[in-house]
Protein backbone atom coordinates (compact mmCIF):
# COMPACT_ATOMS: atom_id res chain seq x y z
CA UNK A 1 0.00 0.00 0.00
CA UNK A 2 1.32 3.42 -0.93
CA UNK A 3 2.29 5.80 1.85
CA UNK A 4 -0.16 8.46 0.72
CA UNK A 5 -3.21 6.20 0.60
CA UNK A 6 -2.26 4.70 3.97
CA UNK A 7 -2.11 8.21 5.37
CA UNK A 8 -5.57 9.17 4.14
CA UNK A 9 -7.13 5.89 5.27
CA UNK A 10 -5.86 6.10 8.84
CA UNK A 11 -6.26 9.89 9.16
CA UNK A 12 -9.69 9.96 10.91
CA UNK A 13 -8.71 7.35 13.50
CA UNK A 14 -5.35 8.97 14.07
CA UNK A 15 -6.83 12.40 14.63
CA UNK A 16 -9.37 11.00 17.08
CA UNK A 17 -6.76 9.08 19.05
CA UNK A 18 -4.33 11.99 19.10
CA UNK A 19 -6.96 14.48 20.24
CA UNK A 20 -8.70 12.33 22.83
CA UNK A 21 -6.07 9.88 24.05
CA UNK A 22 -2.59 11.28 23.40
CA UNK A 23 -3.38 14.92 24.09
CA UNK A 24 -5.23 14.22 27.39
CA UNK A 25 -2.19 12.28 28.60
CA UNK A 26 -0.05 15.37 27.98
CA UNK A 27 -2.70 17.53 29.61
CA UNK A 28 -2.85 15.25 32.65
CA UNK A 29 0.91 15.29 33.07
CA UNK A 30 1.01 19.09 32.85
CA UNK A 31 -1.91 19.53 35.21
CA UNK A 32 -0.24 17.34 37.81
CA UNK A 33 2.53 19.94 38.22
CA UNK A 34 0.11 22.76 38.97
CA UNK A 35 -1.98 23.38 42.02
CA UNK A 36 -5.11 25.47 42.50
CA UNK A 37 -4.51 29.10 43.40
CA UNK A 38 -4.66 29.94 47.06
CA UNK A 39 -7.34 32.40 47.99
CA UNK A 40 -6.26 36.01 47.80
CA UNK A 41 -6.08 37.34 51.32
CA UNK A 42 -6.21 41.01 52.12
CA UNK A 43 -5.21 42.65 55.37
CA UNK A 44 -7.60 45.25 56.61
CA UNK A 45 -6.80 47.49 59.52
CA UNK A 46 -9.78 48.45 61.59
CA UNK A 47 -9.18 51.42 63.79
CA UNK A 48 -11.76 52.09 66.49
CA UNK A 49 -11.91 53.85 69.78
CA UNK A 50 -9.92 51.02 71.45
CA UNK A 51 -7.01 51.02 69.08
CA UNK A 52 -6.36 49.32 65.78
CA UNK A 53 -6.88 45.61 64.96
CA UNK A 54 -5.53 43.71 61.98
CA UNK A 55 -8.15 41.65 60.16
CA UNK A 56 -7.59 39.30 57.32
CA UNK A 57 -10.33 38.50 54.85
CA UNK A 58 -10.65 36.66 51.56
CA UNK A 59 -10.87 38.84 48.51
CA UNK A 60 -13.46 36.82 46.58
CA UNK A 61 -13.31 38.91 43.42
CA UNK A 62 -9.55 38.87 43.14
CA UNK A 63 -9.51 35.10 43.77
CA UNK A 64 -12.09 34.49 41.05
CA UNK A 65 -10.22 36.76 38.64
CA UNK A 66 -6.93 35.00 39.29
CA UNK A 67 -8.51 31.57 38.80
CA UNK A 68 -10.16 32.80 35.62
CA UNK A 69 -6.88 34.12 34.24
CA UNK A 70 -4.84 31.02 34.97
CA UNK A 71 -7.25 28.07 35.12
CA UNK A 72 -4.45 25.55 35.59
CA UNK A 73 -3.37 27.15 38.84
CA UNK A 74 0.12 27.95 39.93
CA UNK A 75 3.21 25.87 39.29
CA UNK A 76 3.95 23.47 42.12
CA UNK A 77 6.54 21.09 40.72
CA UNK A 78 6.52 17.68 42.38
CA UNK A 79 4.72 19.00 45.45
CA UNK A 80 1.46 17.21 44.62
CA UNK A 81 3.22 13.91 44.04
CA UNK A 82 4.85 14.00 47.43
CA UNK A 83 1.87 15.21 49.47
CA UNK A 84 -0.08 13.02 51.88
CA UNK A 85 -2.67 11.96 49.29
CA UNK A 86 -0.14 10.59 46.85
CA UNK A 87 3.35 9.21 47.43
CA UNK A 88 3.51 10.77 50.92
CA UNK A 89 7.28 10.53 51.32
CA UNK A 90 7.23 12.37 54.63
CA UNK A 91 4.55 10.14 56.15
CA UNK A 92 6.19 6.97 54.84
CA UNK A 93 9.55 7.98 56.29
CA UNK A 94 7.92 8.79 59.63
CA UNK A 95 6.05 5.49 59.62
CA UNK A 96 9.29 3.63 58.83
CA UNK A 97 11.09 5.24 61.74
CA UNK A 98 8.25 4.78 64.22
CA UNK A 99 7.16 1.36 63.02
CA UNK A 100 7.27 -1.61 65.33
CA UNK A 101 8.25 -4.26 62.79
CA UNK A 102 7.04 -4.76 59.25
CA UNK A 103 3.34 -5.52 59.92
CA UNK A 104 3.03 -2.29 61.85
CA UNK A 105 4.68 -0.39 59.00
CA UNK A 106 2.21 -1.99 56.60
CA UNK A 107 -0.69 -0.94 58.80
CA UNK A 108 0.42 2.68 58.81
CA UNK A 109 0.86 2.54 55.02
CA UNK A 110 -2.76 1.38 54.68
CA UNK A 111 -3.85 4.63 56.31
CA UNK A 112 -2.40 6.62 53.42
CA UNK A 113 -4.97 6.92 50.60
CA UNK A 114 -2.61 6.24 47.70
CA UNK A 115 -1.02 3.14 49.21
CA UNK A 116 -4.40 1.83 50.28
CA UNK A 117 -5.68 2.14 46.71
CA UNK A 118 -2.49 0.66 45.26
CA UNK A 119 -2.60 -2.30 47.63
CA UNK A 120 -6.15 -3.18 46.68
CA UNK A 121 -5.57 -2.67 42.95
CA UNK A 122 -2.50 -4.90 42.93
CA UNK A 123 -4.10 -7.60 45.10
CA UNK A 124 -7.21 -7.56 42.93
CA UNK A 125 -5.16 -7.87 39.73
CA UNK A 126 -2.93 -10.58 41.16
CA UNK A 127 -5.82 -12.68 42.51
CA UNK A 128 -8.49 -12.23 39.87
CA UNK A 129 -6.34 -12.74 36.76
CA UNK A 130 -5.14 -16.30 37.52
CA UNK A 131 -8.48 -17.39 39.02
CA UNK A 132 -10.28 -16.18 35.89
CA UNK A 133 -7.95 -18.17 33.67
CA UNK A 134 -8.29 -21.33 35.78
CA UNK A 135 -12.08 -21.18 36.03
CA UNK A 136 -12.44 -20.36 32.32
CA UNK A 137 -10.17 -23.26 31.43
CA UNK A 138 -12.16 -25.76 33.49
CA UNK A 139 -15.49 -24.64 32.03
CA UNK A 140 -14.05 -24.95 28.53
CA UNK A 141 -12.63 -28.43 29.20
CA UNK A 142 -15.91 -29.57 30.75
CA UNK A 143 -18.02 -28.37 27.82
CA UNK A 144 -15.58 -29.68 25.24
CA UNK A 145 -14.93 -33.16 26.54
CA UNK A 146 -18.21 -34.17 28.08
CA UNK A 147 -21.31 -32.21 27.61
CA UNK A 148 -21.43 -31.19 23.98
CA UNK A 149 -25.20 -31.12 24.30
CA UNK A 150 -24.85 -28.40 26.92
CA UNK A 151 -22.73 -26.22 24.65
CA UNK A 152 -25.50 -23.86 23.48
CA UNK A 153 -27.04 -23.03 26.85
CA UNK A 154 -23.63 -22.83 28.55
CA UNK A 155 -22.35 -20.26 26.09
CA UNK A 156 -25.58 -18.30 26.29
CA UNK A 157 -25.75 -18.07 30.07
CA UNK A 158 -22.00 -17.70 30.47
CA UNK A 159 -21.96 -14.64 28.25
CA UNK A 160 -24.41 -12.81 30.53
CA UNK A 161 -22.10 -11.93 33.46
CA UNK A 162 -19.52 -10.65 30.99
CA UNK A 163 -21.79 -8.65 28.69
CA UNK A 164 -23.87 -6.98 31.39
CA UNK A 165 -22.73 -3.50 32.39
CA UNK A 166 -20.14 -3.86 35.19
CA UNK A 167 -21.93 -1.33 37.37
CA UNK A 168 -25.21 -3.20 36.96
CA UNK A 169 -23.74 -6.67 37.32
CA UNK A 170 -21.99 -5.74 40.55
CA UNK A 171 -25.15 -4.08 41.87
CA UNK A 172 -27.08 -7.29 41.30
CA UNK A 173 -24.52 -9.25 43.32
CA UNK A 174 -24.34 -6.53 45.96
CA UNK A 175 -28.09 -6.67 46.59
CA UNK A 176 -27.91 -10.43 46.95
CA UNK A 177 -25.14 -10.34 49.57
CA UNK A 178 -26.86 -7.56 51.50
CA UNK A 179 -27.58 -8.78 55.02
CA UNK A 180 -31.27 -8.89 54.04
CA UNK A 181 -30.65 -10.52 50.65
CA UNK A 182 -30.63 -14.23 49.88
CA UNK A 183 -26.84 -14.74 49.82
CA UNK A 184 -26.27 -12.51 52.84
CA UNK A 185 -28.88 -14.47 54.80
CA UNK A 186 -27.30 -17.69 53.56
CA UNK A 187 -23.89 -16.59 54.81
CA UNK A 188 -25.32 -15.70 58.20
CA UNK A 189 -26.94 -19.11 58.41
CA UNK A 190 -23.73 -20.88 57.34
CA UNK A 191 -21.54 -19.08 59.85
CA UNK A 192 -24.27 -19.08 62.49
CA UNK A 193 -23.63 -15.37 63.10
CA UNK A 194 -26.79 -13.24 62.75
CA UNK A 195 -24.77 -10.02 62.71
CA UNK A 196 -22.48 -10.98 59.87
CA UNK A 197 -22.50 -8.26 57.23
CA UNK A 198 -20.33 -8.05 54.16
CA UNK A 199 -20.69 -4.27 54.15
CA UNK A 200 -19.13 -3.95 57.59
CA UNK A 201 -16.09 -6.15 57.16
CA UNK A 202 -13.02 -5.17 55.16
CA UNK A 203 -11.92 -8.74 54.52
CA UNK A 204 -15.32 -9.89 53.31
CA UNK A 205 -15.61 -6.82 51.10
CA UNK A 206 -12.29 -7.55 49.42
CA UNK A 207 -13.34 -11.17 48.87
CA UNK A 208 -16.72 -10.10 47.48
CA UNK A 209 -15.11 -7.66 45.03
CA UNK A 210 -12.77 -10.37 43.82
CA UNK A 211 -15.60 -12.90 43.51
CA UNK A 212 -17.38 -10.38 41.35
CA UNK A 213 -14.22 -9.90 39.27
CA UNK A 214 -13.90 -13.62 38.57
CA UNK A 215 -17.62 -13.99 37.88
CA UNK A 216 -17.46 -11.14 35.40
CA UNK A 217 -14.31 -12.17 33.56
CA UNK A 218 -14.31 -15.99 33.57
CA UNK A 219 -16.74 -16.19 30.59
CA UNK A 220 -14.25 -14.35 28.41
CA UNK A 221 -11.50 -16.82 29.24
CA UNK A 222 -13.95 -19.69 28.72
CA UNK A 223 -14.98 -18.55 25.24
CA UNK A 224 -11.41 -17.98 24.09
CA UNK A 225 -10.18 -21.33 25.46
CA UNK A 226 -13.19 -23.17 24.04
CA UNK A 227 -12.43 -21.79 20.58
CA UNK A 228 -8.80 -22.85 21.04
CA UNK A 229 -9.82 -26.38 22.05
CA UNK A 230 -11.61 -26.81 18.72
CA UNK A 231 -8.28 -26.58 16.93
CA UNK A 232 -6.36 -29.10 19.08
CA UNK A 233 -4.83 -31.68 16.77
CA UNK A 234 -6.82 -34.92 17.27
CA UNK A 235 -4.05 -37.03 15.75
CA UNK A 236 -1.65 -35.90 18.43
CA UNK A 237 -4.25 -36.62 21.09
CA UNK A 238 -4.90 -40.09 19.75
CA UNK A 239 -1.24 -40.98 19.41
CA UNK A 240 -0.71 -39.81 22.98
CA UNK A 241 -3.49 -42.17 23.97
CA UNK A 242 -1.93 -45.05 22.02
CA UNK A 243 1.30 -44.36 23.84
CA UNK A 244 -0.61 -44.84 27.08
CA UNK A 245 -0.98 -41.26 28.30
CA UNK A 246 -3.62 -40.82 30.97
CA UNK A 247 -6.32 -38.18 30.79
CA UNK A 248 -4.33 -35.71 32.86
CA UNK A 249 -1.15 -36.37 30.95
CA UNK A 250 -2.98 -35.67 27.71
CA UNK A 251 -4.26 -32.36 29.07
CA UNK A 252 -0.89 -31.52 30.53
CA UNK A 253 1.30 -32.36 27.52
CA UNK A 254 -0.96 -31.88 24.49
CA UNK A 255 -3.81 -29.50 25.28
CA UNK A 256 -2.05 -27.02 27.56
CA UNK A 257 0.93 -26.33 25.25
CA UNK A 258 -1.54 -25.80 22.43
CA UNK A 259 -3.52 -23.29 24.49
CA UNK A 260 -0.49 -21.48 25.87
CA UNK A 261 -0.52 -18.55 23.39
CA UNK A 262 -4.18 -18.03 24.26
CA UNK A 263 -3.35 -17.95 27.96
CA UNK A 264 -0.92 -15.10 27.34
CA UNK A 265 -3.57 -13.28 25.33
CA UNK A 266 -6.24 -13.66 28.03
CA UNK A 267 -3.73 -12.73 30.73
CA UNK A 268 -2.77 -9.56 28.86
CA UNK A 269 -6.37 -8.42 28.40
CA UNK A 270 -7.22 -9.34 32.01
CA UNK A 271 -4.23 -7.47 33.44
CA UNK A 272 -5.30 -4.34 31.61
CA UNK A 273 -8.93 -4.66 32.68
CA UNK A 274 -8.32 -5.69 36.29
CA UNK A 275 -5.84 -2.91 36.90
CA UNK A 276 -8.57 -0.38 36.12
CA UNK A 277 -11.10 -1.97 38.53
CA UNK A 278 -13.57 0.76 39.34
CA UNK A 279 -17.31 0.17 38.84
CA UNK A 280 -17.73 -2.60 41.46
CA UNK A 281 -16.32 -0.30 44.14
CA UNK A 282 -18.96 2.29 43.25
CA UNK A 283 -21.77 -0.28 43.27
CA UNK A 284 -20.63 -2.03 46.43
CA UNK A 285 -20.17 1.36 48.11
CA UNK A 286 -16.95 -0.16 49.31
CA UNK A 287 -14.79 2.96 49.48
CA UNK A 288 -14.44 2.71 53.26
CA UNK A 289 -12.88 -0.75 52.94
CA UNK A 290 -11.33 -0.87 49.50
CA UNK A 291 -10.40 1.79 46.98
CA UNK A 292 -8.59 1.40 43.70
CA UNK A 293 -6.46 3.85 41.76
CA UNK A 294 -9.31 4.49 39.31
CA UNK A 295 -11.70 5.03 42.17
CA UNK A 296 -9.31 7.52 43.77
CA UNK A 297 -9.30 9.56 40.56
CA UNK A 298 -13.09 9.37 40.33
CA UNK A 299 -13.38 10.48 43.93
CA UNK A 300 -11.13 13.51 43.33
CA UNK A 301 -13.00 14.53 40.20
CA UNK A 302 -16.50 14.18 41.60
CA UNK A 303 -18.08 16.22 44.31
CA UNK A 304 -18.32 19.96 44.76
CA UNK A 305 -14.63 20.85 44.60
CA UNK A 306 -13.07 19.13 41.64
CA UNK A 307 -9.50 18.37 42.70
CA UNK A 308 -8.10 18.37 39.17
CA UNK A 309 -4.44 18.45 40.14
CA UNK A 310 -4.76 15.68 42.69
CA UNK A 311 -6.65 13.53 40.17
CA UNK A 312 -4.04 14.30 37.53
CA UNK A 313 -1.18 13.21 39.79
CA UNK A 314 -2.95 9.92 40.61
CA UNK A 315 -3.63 9.44 36.89
CA UNK A 316 0.04 9.86 36.04
CA UNK A 317 1.01 7.36 38.73
CA UNK A 318 -1.62 4.93 37.37
CA UNK A 319 -0.28 5.29 33.84
CA UNK A 320 3.24 4.59 35.12
CA UNK A 321 1.87 1.51 36.88
CA UNK A 322 0.32 0.23 33.67
CA UNK A 323 3.53 0.87 31.76
CA UNK A 324 5.46 -1.24 34.27
CA UNK A 325 2.80 -3.95 34.20
CA UNK A 326 2.70 -4.21 30.42
CA UNK A 327 6.35 -3.64 29.59
CA UNK A 328 7.26 -7.36 29.43
CA UNK A 329 4.39 -8.00 27.02
CA UNK A 330 5.28 -5.04 24.83
CA UNK A 331 8.94 -6.01 24.68
CA UNK A 332 7.96 -9.53 23.69
CA UNK A 333 5.58 -8.37 20.93
CA UNK A 334 8.30 -6.16 19.61
CA UNK A 335 10.86 -8.97 19.57
CA UNK A 336 8.40 -11.32 17.86
CA UNK A 337 7.85 -8.74 15.17
CA UNK A 338 11.54 -8.16 14.73
CA UNK A 339 12.09 -11.84 14.12
CA UNK A 340 9.53 -11.95 11.30
Amino acid sequence: MKHSSFFWFVLPSTLLMLAFIAFPIVSVVTQSFYTAHEQVVVQVENCGPFGCTQETSVDQEATAALREAEPMGEFAGFEIYTDRNHLAFGEVAAAWVNADGLPDFGRSLMNLPFYKALAFTLTYTAVVTPLTIILGFFIAIAVNSVARAMKGPTIFFSLLPMIVTPLVGSLILFWMVDARGILGAGLQWLTDDPNLSVKASTGLMWIMLMVYGVWHAAPFAFVVFYAGLQTVNTDTLESAMVDGATRWERIRFVVLPHLFPLVTFVALIQLMDNFRVFEPIVSFQASAHATSLSYAIYNDLGGETRLLSSAAATSVLTIIGIAILLSPVLVRTWRDFDRK
Binding site: F20, I172, M176, F278
Partner: protein
Protein backbone atom coordinates in the same frame (compact mmCIF):
# COMPACT_ATOMS: atom_id res chain seq x y z
CA UNK B 1 -16.75 -38.27 18.83
CA UNK B 2 -15.05 -41.62 18.37
CA UNK B 3 -15.54 -44.43 20.84
CA UNK B 4 -11.93 -44.25 21.99
CA UNK B 5 -12.21 -40.66 23.19
CA UNK B 6 -15.47 -41.17 25.08
CA UNK B 7 -15.18 -40.41 28.78
CA UNK B 8 -15.93 -42.84 31.60
CA UNK B 9 -19.13 -42.13 33.58
CA UNK B 10 -17.34 -40.77 36.67
CA UNK B 11 -15.65 -38.02 34.66
CA UNK B 12 -18.87 -37.22 32.83
CA UNK B 13 -20.84 -36.86 36.05
CA UNK B 14 -18.16 -34.66 37.58
CA UNK B 15 -17.93 -32.41 34.54
CA UNK B 16 -21.68 -32.16 34.14
CA UNK B 17 -22.29 -31.23 37.74
CA UNK B 18 -19.47 -28.67 37.58
CA UNK B 19 -21.14 -27.11 34.55
CA UNK B 20 -24.56 -27.09 36.19
CA UNK B 21 -23.11 -25.29 39.22
CA UNK B 22 -21.41 -22.74 36.97
CA UNK B 23 -24.63 -22.16 35.03
CA UNK B 24 -26.51 -21.51 38.26
CA UNK B 25 -23.81 -19.11 39.42
CA UNK B 26 -23.89 -17.31 36.07
CA UNK B 27 -27.63 -17.08 35.54
CA UNK B 28 -29.31 -17.19 38.94
CA UNK B 29 -28.49 -13.60 40.02
CA UNK B 30 -30.24 -12.25 36.93
CA UNK B 31 -33.34 -14.39 37.35
CA UNK B 32 -33.49 -13.53 41.05
CA UNK B 33 -33.30 -9.79 40.39
CA UNK B 34 -35.83 -10.00 37.55
CA UNK B 35 -38.29 -11.82 39.82
CA UNK B 36 -37.59 -9.51 42.74
CA UNK B 37 -38.07 -6.34 40.71
CA UNK B 38 -41.84 -7.00 40.73
CA UNK B 39 -41.98 -7.03 44.54
CA UNK B 40 -41.96 -4.31 47.16
CA UNK B 41 -38.77 -3.41 48.99
CA UNK B 42 -39.80 -5.31 52.11
CA UNK B 43 -39.81 -8.51 50.11
CA UNK B 44 -36.75 -7.89 47.95
CA UNK B 45 -34.74 -7.19 51.10
CA UNK B 46 -36.51 -9.41 53.54
CA UNK B 47 -35.38 -9.20 57.13
CA UNK B 48 -37.85 -11.81 58.31
CA UNK B 49 -37.49 -14.58 55.78
CA UNK B 50 -35.68 -14.69 52.48
CA UNK B 51 -38.45 -16.82 51.00
CA UNK B 52 -40.69 -13.74 51.07
CA UNK B 53 -38.86 -12.55 47.98
CA UNK B 54 -40.17 -15.59 46.13
CA UNK B 55 -43.76 -15.58 47.32
CA UNK B 56 -44.16 -11.85 47.81
CA UNK B 57 -45.86 -11.95 51.19
CA UNK B 58 -45.50 -8.23 51.88
CA UNK B 59 -46.25 -7.35 48.27
CA UNK B 60 -49.56 -9.19 48.70
CA UNK B 61 -50.32 -7.23 51.86
CA UNK B 62 -49.31 -3.84 50.47
CA UNK B 63 -50.68 -3.98 46.94
CA UNK B 64 -53.20 -6.82 46.97
CA UNK B 65 -51.38 -8.85 44.34
CA UNK B 66 -48.12 -10.78 44.45
CA UNK B 67 -46.63 -8.76 41.61
CA UNK B 68 -46.33 -5.01 41.38
CA UNK B 69 -44.99 -2.70 38.71
CA UNK B 70 -44.53 0.16 41.16
CA UNK B 71 -40.74 0.10 40.87
CA UNK B 72 -40.92 0.41 37.10
CA UNK B 73 -43.49 3.20 37.31
CA UNK B 74 -41.33 5.07 39.81
CA UNK B 75 -38.17 4.75 37.79
CA UNK B 76 -39.46 5.31 34.26
CA UNK B 77 -42.17 7.92 34.92
CA UNK B 78 -41.45 9.56 38.26
CA UNK B 79 -37.65 9.70 37.97
CA UNK B 80 -37.76 10.12 34.18
CA UNK B 81 -35.64 7.13 33.35
CA UNK B 82 -37.08 7.30 29.80
CA UNK B 83 -35.01 10.40 29.22
CA UNK B 84 -31.84 8.51 30.14
CA UNK B 85 -32.91 5.63 27.89
CA UNK B 86 -33.36 8.08 25.02
CA UNK B 87 -29.92 9.57 25.63
CA UNK B 88 -28.35 6.12 25.73
CA UNK B 89 -30.01 5.24 22.42
CA UNK B 90 -28.68 8.40 20.78
CA UNK B 91 -25.18 7.92 22.17
CA UNK B 92 -25.06 4.26 21.09
CA UNK B 93 -26.29 4.91 17.54
CA UNK B 94 -23.77 7.65 16.91
CA UNK B 95 -20.85 5.94 18.62
CA UNK B 96 -21.39 2.77 16.58
CA UNK B 97 -21.73 4.56 13.23
CA UNK B 98 -18.82 6.93 13.66
CA UNK B 99 -16.40 4.44 15.14
CA UNK B 100 -17.18 1.86 12.45
CA UNK B 101 -16.69 4.43 9.68
CA UNK B 102 -13.29 5.51 10.98
CA UNK B 103 -12.40 1.99 12.06
CA UNK B 104 -13.06 0.25 8.73
CA UNK B 105 -10.93 2.77 6.84
CA UNK B 106 -8.07 2.52 9.33
CA UNK B 107 -8.38 -1.22 9.86
CA UNK B 108 -8.30 -1.85 6.11
CA UNK B 109 -5.17 0.27 5.64
CA UNK B 110 -3.44 -1.45 8.58
CA UNK B 111 -4.25 -4.89 7.19
CA UNK B 112 -2.95 -4.09 3.72
CA UNK B 113 0.14 -2.06 4.55
CA UNK B 114 3.37 -4.03 4.72
CA UNK B 115 5.42 -1.14 6.04
CA UNK B 116 6.95 -1.10 9.47
CA UNK B 117 4.97 1.93 10.65
CA UNK B 118 1.72 -0.04 10.40
CA UNK B 119 3.06 -2.29 13.16
CA UNK B 120 4.07 0.67 15.29
CA UNK B 121 0.62 2.13 14.77
CA UNK B 122 -0.98 -1.06 16.11
CA UNK B 123 1.43 -1.22 19.04
CA UNK B 124 0.56 2.35 20.03
CA UNK B 125 -3.12 1.50 19.69
CA UNK B 126 -2.55 -1.41 22.08
CA UNK B 127 -0.92 0.91 24.61
CA UNK B 128 -3.82 3.32 24.28
CA UNK B 129 -6.20 0.41 24.84
CA UNK B 130 -4.51 -0.15 28.21
CA UNK B 131 -5.24 3.39 29.47
CA UNK B 132 -8.04 3.35 32.02
CA UNK B 133 -10.69 5.77 30.69
CA UNK B 134 -10.92 7.58 34.00
CA UNK B 135 -7.27 8.71 33.82
CA UNK B 136 -8.02 10.33 30.48
CA UNK B 137 -11.21 11.90 31.81
CA UNK B 138 -9.18 13.89 34.32
CA UNK B 139 -7.34 15.32 31.31
CA UNK B 140 -10.57 16.27 29.53
CA UNK B 141 -12.32 18.18 32.27
CA UNK B 142 -10.36 21.45 32.31
CA UNK B 143 -10.18 21.98 28.51
CA UNK B 144 -13.84 21.00 28.15
CA UNK B 145 -14.88 23.51 30.82
CA UNK B 146 -12.75 26.21 29.21
CA UNK B 147 -14.14 25.62 25.72
CA UNK B 148 -17.73 25.05 26.88
CA UNK B 149 -17.81 21.50 25.57
CA UNK B 150 -18.70 19.89 28.89
CA UNK B 151 -22.10 18.29 29.46
CA UNK B 152 -23.22 17.80 25.86
CA UNK B 153 -24.10 14.47 24.31
CA UNK B 154 -21.95 15.04 21.22
CA UNK B 155 -18.81 15.56 23.32
CA UNK B 156 -19.41 12.24 25.03
CA UNK B 157 -20.07 10.53 21.70
CA UNK B 158 -16.81 11.74 20.21
CA UNK B 159 -14.84 10.83 23.34
CA UNK B 160 -16.34 7.33 23.39
CA UNK B 161 -15.59 6.91 19.70
CA UNK B 162 -11.97 7.87 20.31
CA UNK B 163 -11.60 5.56 23.33
CA UNK B 164 -13.10 2.80 21.21
CA UNK B 165 -10.76 3.26 18.24
CA UNK B 166 -7.80 1.13 19.44
CA UNK B 167 -10.00 -1.92 19.97
CA UNK B 168 -11.99 -1.35 16.76
CA UNK B 169 -8.81 -0.99 14.72
CA UNK B 170 -7.29 -4.18 16.13
CA UNK B 171 -10.41 -6.20 15.51
CA UNK B 172 -11.17 -4.91 12.01
CA UNK B 173 -7.51 -5.22 11.09
CA UNK B 174 -7.64 -8.93 11.87
CA UNK B 175 -10.91 -9.34 9.95
CA UNK B 176 -9.53 -7.56 6.87
CA UNK B 177 -6.42 -9.73 7.00
CA UNK B 178 -8.72 -12.68 6.32
CA UNK B 179 -10.13 -11.15 3.15
CA UNK B 180 -7.77 -12.27 0.37
CA UNK B 181 -5.44 -9.57 -0.92
CA UNK B 182 -6.00 -10.71 -4.51
CA UNK B 183 -9.55 -9.37 -4.38
CA UNK B 184 -8.72 -5.67 -4.17
CA UNK B 185 -5.40 -5.98 -5.95
CA UNK B 186 -7.03 -7.39 -9.07
CA UNK B 187 -9.50 -4.52 -8.97
CA UNK B 188 -6.55 -2.13 -8.88
CA UNK B 189 -4.93 -3.91 -11.79
CA UNK B 190 -8.14 -3.25 -13.66
CA UNK B 191 -7.68 0.46 -13.05
CA UNK B 192 -9.43 1.20 -9.76
CA UNK B 193 -7.77 3.54 -7.30
CA UNK B 194 -7.17 2.21 -3.76
CA UNK B 195 -10.32 3.88 -2.51
CA UNK B 196 -12.44 2.63 -5.42
CA UNK B 197 -11.18 -0.89 -4.80
CA UNK B 198 -12.15 -0.53 -1.14
CA UNK B 199 -15.53 0.95 -2.05
CA UNK B 200 -16.58 -1.57 -4.74
CA UNK B 201 -14.78 -4.76 -3.77
CA UNK B 202 -14.11 -4.77 -0.04
CA UNK B 203 -17.22 -3.06 1.33
CA UNK B 204 -19.62 -5.69 -0.10
CA UNK B 205 -17.74 -8.55 1.61
CA UNK B 206 -16.77 -6.93 4.92
CA UNK B 207 -20.15 -6.99 6.70
CA UNK B 208 -19.71 -10.04 8.98
CA UNK B 209 -16.60 -8.50 10.53
CA UNK B 210 -18.15 -5.06 10.72
CA UNK B 211 -21.30 -6.32 12.43
CA UNK B 212 -19.23 -8.16 15.05
CA UNK B 213 -17.07 -5.12 15.72
CA UNK B 214 -20.20 -2.96 15.83
CA UNK B 215 -21.62 -5.14 18.59
CA UNK B 216 -18.55 -4.49 20.71
CA UNK B 217 -18.62 -0.75 20.00
CA UNK B 218 -22.24 -0.79 21.07
CA UNK B 219 -21.36 -2.61 24.29
CA UNK B 220 -18.63 -0.13 25.10
CA UNK B 221 -20.93 2.85 24.63
CA UNK B 222 -23.84 1.20 26.42
CA UNK B 223 -21.81 -0.01 29.40
CA UNK B 224 -19.58 3.00 29.93
CA UNK B 225 -19.73 4.61 33.34
CA UNK B 226 -16.45 6.49 33.84
CA UNK B 227 -16.84 8.83 30.87
CA UNK B 228 -20.59 9.35 30.95
CA UNK B 229 -20.76 10.08 34.65
CA UNK B 230 -18.04 12.72 34.45
CA UNK B 231 -18.75 14.40 31.12
CA UNK B 232 -22.56 14.60 31.00
CA UNK B 233 -24.70 17.19 32.74
CA UNK B 234 -27.61 15.94 34.80
CA UNK B 235 -30.28 16.32 32.10
CA UNK B 236 -28.12 14.58 29.49
CA UNK B 237 -27.31 11.58 31.67
CA UNK B 238 -27.40 8.14 30.09
CA UNK B 239 -28.82 5.09 31.85
CA UNK B 240 -25.76 3.82 33.70
CA UNK B 241 -24.86 7.09 35.51
CA UNK B 242 -28.58 7.57 36.15
CA UNK B 243 -28.66 4.26 38.04
CA UNK B 244 -25.60 5.33 39.99
CA UNK B 245 -27.39 8.53 40.93
CA UNK B 246 -30.40 6.48 42.15
CA UNK B 247 -28.03 4.88 44.63
CA UNK B 248 -27.16 8.21 46.15
CA UNK B 249 -30.48 10.01 46.27
CA UNK B 250 -33.46 7.70 46.16
CA UNK B 251 -32.06 5.05 48.42
CA UNK B 252 -32.48 7.36 51.38
CA UNK B 253 -36.11 7.81 50.41
CA UNK B 254 -36.56 4.07 50.59
CA UNK B 255 -37.02 3.73 46.86
CA UNK B 256 -34.34 1.18 46.20
CA UNK B 257 -36.88 -0.63 44.03
CA UNK B 258 -36.51 2.15 41.45
CA UNK B 259 -32.88 1.20 41.08
CA UNK B 260 -33.75 -2.50 40.94
CA UNK B 261 -36.24 -2.03 38.12
CA UNK B 262 -33.86 0.32 36.30
CA UNK B 263 -31.17 -2.35 36.56
CA UNK B 264 -33.54 -4.93 35.06
CA UNK B 265 -34.48 -2.48 32.30
CA UNK B 266 -30.82 -1.97 31.42
CA UNK B 267 -30.12 -5.69 31.39
CA UNK B 268 -33.09 -6.67 29.19
CA UNK B 269 -31.73 -5.28 25.87
CA UNK B 270 -28.38 -6.97 26.52
CA UNK B 271 -30.17 -10.25 27.14
CA UNK B 272 -31.95 -9.95 23.79
CA UNK B 273 -28.68 -9.03 22.12
CA UNK B 274 -26.89 -12.12 23.43
CA UNK B 275 -29.83 -14.22 22.24
CA UNK B 276 -29.65 -12.99 18.64
CA UNK B 277 -25.95 -12.30 18.20
CA UNK B 278 -24.37 -15.06 20.29
CA UNK B 279 -22.40 -16.39 17.32
CA UNK B 280 -21.00 -12.97 16.41
CA UNK B 281 -20.03 -12.16 19.99
CA UNK B 282 -18.17 -15.45 20.33
CA UNK B 283 -16.38 -14.99 17.01
CA UNK B 284 -15.46 -11.44 18.00
CA UNK B 285 -14.02 -12.52 21.34
CA UNK B 286 -11.86 -15.12 19.70
CA UNK B 287 -10.91 -13.13 16.59
CA UNK B 288 -8.03 -11.32 18.25
CA UNK B 289 -6.83 -14.41 20.07
CA UNK B 290 -6.97 -17.30 17.67
CA UNK B 291 -5.78 -15.48 14.60
CA UNK B 292 -2.96 -13.86 16.50
Amino acid sequence: MSKATRQPPSVRIMATSFLVIWLIVAAFPFLWTLWGSFKVEGDFFSKANWANAIFGTLTQEETGSSFTGAGYYGAWVQEEFWRAALNTTLVCIFVVTVSLTCGTLGGYALARSTHRYAFWFLLFALMFRAMPPITLVSGYLLPFFEWNLWGHLYTTVIVLVALNQPFTLWMLHSFFKNIPKDLDESAMVDGCTRFQAFRHVIIPVMWPGVITTGLFSFLLAYNDFAVTTMLLSKENQTMVPKIASFLGTTQTKGNVMFAVSAVVSVTAPLFVMVMFFQRQIVSGLTAGAVKG
